[in-house]
Subunit: 205 residues, 2 copies
Amino acid sequence: MDIAIPIFDGLTALDAIGPYEVLSRLPDARIHFLAAEAGPKRTENRMLTLIAERPLDDMRNPEVIVMPGGHGTRALMHDEQMLAWVRAAHETSRGPRRCAPARSCSGPGILDGLEATTHWALMDTLGRLGATPVNRRVVEQGKVITAAGVSSGIDMALTLAARIAGEDMARAIQLATGYDPEPPFDSGSTEKASPEILELARARS
Amino acid sequence: MDIAIPIFDGLTALDAIGPYEVLSRLPDARIHFLAAEAGPKRTENRMLTLIAERPLDDMRNPEVIVMPGGHGTRALMHDEQMLAWVRAAHETSRGPRRCAPARSCSGPGILDGLEATTHWALMDTLGRLGATPVNRRVVEQGKVITAAGVSSGIDMALTLAARIAGEDMARAIQLATGYDPEPPFDSGSTEKASPEILELARARS
């Protein structure tokens, strides 16, 4: 099973690496980091560089696409090559898809008429994309799965792993990756954080 | 504040990227991906390449070291250059340190006499390193923090962020990264998984 993760300058690394760490443990799965132009891609803070091993055109029919987010998605919305690739791959593929944040999917209209989620600081963009915003961590709509920001891709990927290979395999991957979270605080969502924390968090999102 | 993340062939990506995603949001923090020899480093499954931007020798006194794990740590235990760097940086630095898995720290004897944790499949290595194994997700021992496998680095990094910049900032980073986990299953630790799931997980660890 070919799983494509398109990357680009300005991505949020954990958006890509959380799902990669889960899905790469599926039997017979192969993760491919792709970009319009293969080569080094820097994260939004420019502190980390990931390599896109192959160009998008090398893989027109992956079974799963994991679309990461990040400030770089603003430019991506105007990248005709990426948008055309996502549109085509979405139409011909059979497996589940995932886009996060929603912005990454807007050009192709993939979210049109669907319920969707994204990072809390971007929820107001969903309506403009034709989607109905839903304040949940992972939203499944047929073959499109959206997830809230950054760390939520791990939860999304475990859900996806169960759909692909069954719940036992997904549970085994949860154990292999030691995903038994114990956050030292309980401020992970806007409902749980104080207004002061929310303000501090906006500047770091 | 300079935060060093040494990387190497055969690393587990999420071990590095989870903490990176948290710690890079600290005020005035700068994350540096280093290696004995700068350049591309492949993960243990060879599906992803990260770039080490600078050689270890460029940064002898980082304030924090985050040491990722992965099958490549077996070779690391015999890498005199890396071990000497970790030993020297550990001695001269003032801030907190973290090593996971413990194997990465064994050469320098950093864990000798301390309580420590690591990935469940490697817990029996801790005794051989002079450490007392503790079955917890994050273990703080002065300036050494150890964490269990793969995804636990996110919890570790939030704990570390609070020590560096205070609890409000750590809470804001938790919110910025949307770390409000909702695993779809409850098999993230050996106590919670069935024997069948445990067997399946061993092959994927």
